[in-house]
């Protein structure tokens, strides 16, 4: 019926064996929880199994599974938002206004970021990046990671999370202002030795 190779790409145990770790890591980065990431992988594979008749074989199994995973991640985030009652209009307590003068100019000049010269320095910047990302407020972190980590289009994110596009832009913009500030304060603009 099927050529052997296609049969193999449709075998759920092969998916689990070959892509389980990858799917788990992608999910874990966004859900920031081992347990939720495991759920996401399980739901993805079950959904893939149910839908495998529709798998065209055009995309690689990993690409196909990752596309399903993204939807499962959004579902889990949505469920989480409902359960923890995180306000959708979370605009944070940070004083955004302090970044700018009353006339709208930058309050402080923006220093250039340094170019890491060694593995150790790069490792340090990566650590700061992850720590700053962890400090984003939940509503901002969700939208930001779907955009920058999962690479989803904003339109898709707004639709999936049921928020207005204006709200989506505001969350993304504030997340970026916050992250930039956090990175700068934690060593990204460290003295460049020349």
């Amino acid at each position: 019926m099927f050529p052997g190779e296609l049969m193999e790409t449709l075998d759920p145990y092969t998916w689990l064996a070959e892509h389980g770790d990858y799917l788990f890591r992608v999910a874990r980065r966004q859900l920031r929880s081992d347990e939720l990431a495991e759920d996401a992988v399980q739901e993805t594979l079950l959904a893939a199994l149910a839908a495998r008749a529709r798998y065209s074989g055009n995309a690689s199994p990993r690409t196909w599974l990752t596309a399903i995973l993204k939807h499962k991640i959004v579902d889990l985030i949505r469920r989480q938002v409902r359960e923890t009652g995180i306000p959708r209009n979370d605009d944070g307590d940070e004083n955004w206004e302090a970044l700018f003068q009353a006339d709208g100019h930058w309050a402080e000049p923006l220093p250039a970021w340094r170019n890491p010269q060694s593995e150790a320095e790069l490792g340090e910047l990566r650590r700061v990046l992850n720590e700053c990302a962890d400090r984003l407020k939940p509503a901002m972190a969700q939208v930001f990671s779907l955009r920058e980590v999962a690479g989803m289009e904003t339109e898709e994110i707004c639709k999936e999370l049921g928020i207005s596009s204006t709200n989506c832009w505001v969350l993304l913009h504030r997340a970026r202002l916050f992250l930039r500030e956090c990175l700068e304060l934690n060593g990204f603009s460290g003295a460049i030795s020349s």
Binding site: Q42, L45, L46, F100, P109, W113, R147, V149, R176
Partner: protein, 85 residues
Amino acid sequence: MKWMPTCKAVTELASRTMDQRLPFTDHLTLRVHLAMCRNCTRFMQQLHEMRRLFRVETAADDGAPGLPPEARQRIATELQKKLDS
């Protein structure tokens, strides 16, 4: 958007252009301002740099743990149940 926007307003355009094609006038406003403003130019560059860093970070699997064995077993069992049903 006013013709002579503030840096604060320009950061919003800068952020938005990371996600969407800006309407022509907004695009022009952004470009004209960036040509004159060192801070906002830096802001724009740093937004691109942040995106690049997150992409690199997402692709890097080093050290990130994989699917735990118990979860793998549980998922295999669930798949089997579904196959049998």
